[in-house]
């Protein structure tokens, strides 16, 4: 059948979707979510689109195309295309199999991931896949196969064969915990490769990518990343800027509305990103404690076991550290405030807890690759200024300024102790929420500067923390809710 293209002028954010008038669909024997092969006249190759059906907006002799299809087919509004019914992707059968609780083979998972990357699955079908993995779990074998499939069907960074490539990962949830930005230049200054792709904040006040963006661009393509790593041994970039694990990004989107995190998928997601970045050795930090993502030591241990098993089968050397996640680390929370802390540590000063944790992590990373006198070397790199020098090299190589200008917020509001006493708890989630309400991470300079720690004795009137914002409105919103938001608990 020949139909006229109507550009519906919307993006789907993924799936290739075409819209038919209900009468046209009926004539073609097509149901919603069936497939239609759409191609330009006199061309052999086209695209399989998922069909939506409408009663309005698309005429009977038309086919509505979303932006993704318009781009892929290189067609424009008003031209004619040839359509014919197409088979459903075979991977749908494997999705159903998983939903029924059966184990999937490597080949089956590979076909599912291939179709996800090609945008050939509808949102409903992708949801069924995530559901199946959540309801029935993924075996270690499946997790490894899913990881390999994600790596295979995305971009990969390539380095010299046999070369050691380090990477680190943190399960997250601890405000201010910016050790990555310190560990990377330490390791790189000692002569090892450590290309780091990081995430942006989703609901937290800042991710490593958001914080480093204060100092340098973080959205780099593959070629540019490889050049930066070649020059400096390292990089600190946003993973979303390069399609290292694009299947994973699509699955995360589907997991969002119900906050679903199937363990196998989580492991595959993390390991795929490491493998695609060319890592041979991976250090994993699992902070656990009250009000952090991993709340109990038991959960942390289960996760560690998973990482070790999957890592081994993937041929990666892994070390997993369970660390204290019960309170924020460092003083600054929010991109610019965190960047200031990081630079301070690299200059030999800085919040002591952040410095100590960074030294510990870097030491463990060196031990993982068999380096002797690891701690000594790490401290030497920090104190000699070599690590800071390397940090500036990375900033410059990624396109940052030699003397970055760290933005400062226009307004602030200090919270002082109303009583004398010993601090029992600092609530991670509440601190993070305050920083977010202040405007982080969109407002780079917004956030919280925390001056106290658990077990500290504070005097009446002493500054506990200061909130930074760029609009009075944001500050007022927080002030109004300060009773519920107060993160400090006394003994």
């Amino acid at each position: 059948m020949k139909l006229k293209v109507r550009n519906v002028q919307l993006t789907t954010g993924g799936p290739l979707v075409a819209v038919l008038h209900e009468k046209t669909a009926k004539a073609l024997g097509i149901f919603p979510t069936d497939r239609l092969h759409v191609r330009r006249m006199h061309k052999k190759e086209g695209a399989n689109c998922v069909i939506n059906i409408t009663k309005k907006g698309v005429q009977e002799d038309e086919i509505g195309l979303f932006e993704e299809v318009i781009k892929k087919l290189k067609v424009s509004h008003g031209v004619h295309v040839e359509v014919e019914q197409a088979e459903h992707p075979v991977s749908i059968q494997f999705i159903k199999k998983k939903l029924e609780g059966k184990e999937l083979t490597e080949q089956e998972l590979d076909l599912i991931v291939k179709d996800i990357v090609a945008n050939e699955l509808s949102e409903t079908e992708l949801t069924y896949f995530v559901s199946g993995c959540y309801s029935h779990g993924l075996s270690i074998k499946e997790t490894v196969a899913l990881t390999n499939a994600i790596v295979k069907n995305g971009e990969q960074l390539h380095f010299n064969k046999g070369e050691i490539v380090l990477d680190k990962h943190c399960s997250g949830g601890v405000p201010g915990n910016r050790t990555t930005m310190i560990v990377i230049p330490i390791i790189a200054s000692l002569g090892y490769k450590i290309p780091k792709t990081s995430s942006r904040a989703i609901t937290s006040p800042s991710g490593t990518a958001d914080t480093f963006e204060v100092l340098a661009p973080v959205t780099l393509n593959k070629k540019k990343i490889e050049a930066v790593v070649k020059k400096t041994n390292a990089c600190i970039v946003w993973g979303g800027g390069v399609d290292l694990a694009s299947a994973d990004d699509k699955m995360i989107k589907i997991r969002h509305p119900l906050s679903i995190d199937p363990t196998g998928m989580l492991l595959a997601s993390i390991m795929a990103k490491k493998k695609a970045a060319g890592a041979t050795h991976v250090l994993i930090d699992i902070p656990w404690g009250k009000n952090v993502k991993i709340e109990t030591k038991k959960q942390a241990k289960v996760l560690r076991k998973g990482f070790l098993k999957v890592g081994k089968l993937l041929g990666l050397k892994i070390k997993v550290l369970l660390t204290d996640g019960s309170q924020p680390i460092g003083n600054g929370i929010g991109p610019a405030l965190e960047a200031t802390d990081v630079i301070s540590v690299l200059k030999g000063d800085g919040p002591n807890d952040l410095r100590q944790k960074a030294i510990f992590m870097a030491t463990e990373a060196l031990k993982l690759i068999g380096e002797k006198d690891a701690e000594e070397k790490v401290i030497q790199a920090l104190e000699s200024g070599k690590a800071y020098q390397k940090f500036k090299e990375i900033i410059y190589a990624q396109g940052g300024l030699k003397h970055p200008n760290i933005p400062k917020a226009q307004f602030f509001y200090s919270i002082n102790a109303k009583q004398e006493g010993k601090i029992k708890e600092i609530n991670n989630k509440k601190i993070a929420l305050i920083a977010t309400l202040a405007g982080a991470p969109e407002e780079k300079s917004a956030g919280v500067y925390l001056r106290v720690r658990v077990s500290r004795w504070v005097k009446k009137g002493e500054n506990l923390f200061t909130i930074y914002a760029n609009t009075k409105q944001n500050l007022d919103t927080i002030k109004r809710q300060l009773k519920e938001l107060d993160p400090i608990v006394y003994e």
Copy 2:
């Protein structure tokens, strides 16, 4: 925030969906599938919409609204609306609970169904619900609760309290099996109420609603249906024309792409339609055999057990019959050809297997309500012409002609026996496929007229079946594939 309405001029077919430019979404702190409360300026009441995010087509100061939202809010292109972030429906938490394998309470299921009917769940969330029910099954308690929730949150037919109201249901898959259209007038002519809502064909050549539509309109609203039943004791209408179980229709749509039929959902779907139609007594026909929906006696028995358990808890009197579904019933397959068979049986003639099955079903229905000499009464109703008279009354009451004009196809093609022999098998699925390719059910007169039965001895050259179509093209398509489509197997 104030935004200008852009009518995106498309329907979603369900969920209330609004589209934001990605920058606007970011400013509002909104992620895809988050909720936004949208209301007309100076109005208190609005609608919670699921948010899609686009890079094009909707400007930063605009909100794109799908037809469903435009209608609900009564707004038009270009006017301003007030938007603010809204909570996710609480039912999402229960969907997650089900996905984790936990049993849902009556109240939780009721809230999920309420949100489905109000179009407040996104396609992804609805898919998670169906997945959970498929992966973990529904307990009998849950099935009953889901049934009640579907009934409660949809339209219901009301009759006099305490009055007997009959209904029948067939699990389907047997071509030509149009007993319903014979049983209904028999029962109604004997003085009992039997309002029948039927489905249209989804992938088969005809549903009861498609076949009866040859004789009378089947899309009637609730008021009209109640009037027809008051007048004639019966009706034969399309269930989709009245919102008797609208939640169910939305769930069926989600089940389509993976052909997922969670048993509990299937039971709830069927029983809800019966209960909403006011039934007190339900006769259920489960034809089983090769190439029909229910393939083994074991499966049929499991389904029977489910129906009986759920029916009892719903306070319905149920009888379930397991019948022979191994070959088509009647001669005609396709709306007009089936209607001809039905009228022929009601006139005292017709294909014997269809007549016998209809007599058996009607007899069992009468026995279910405690009527004595049931079979005698049924045969009497048929032979006296009372049932046929009632049939004509129903047609007329629904708006059909006193002398309906049954359409005839323009082209036909006869398949004759190439050899002498005994017929071992007639493949239901292949016969159905031929009738569908011929144009049924859209083309009312298209289909297959089958002249033989299993175990019949046929002579060489004897007519096996004839294919009817309205375009030569359809006939040619079938002719080309006749080798693979041939439904007749000899011993």
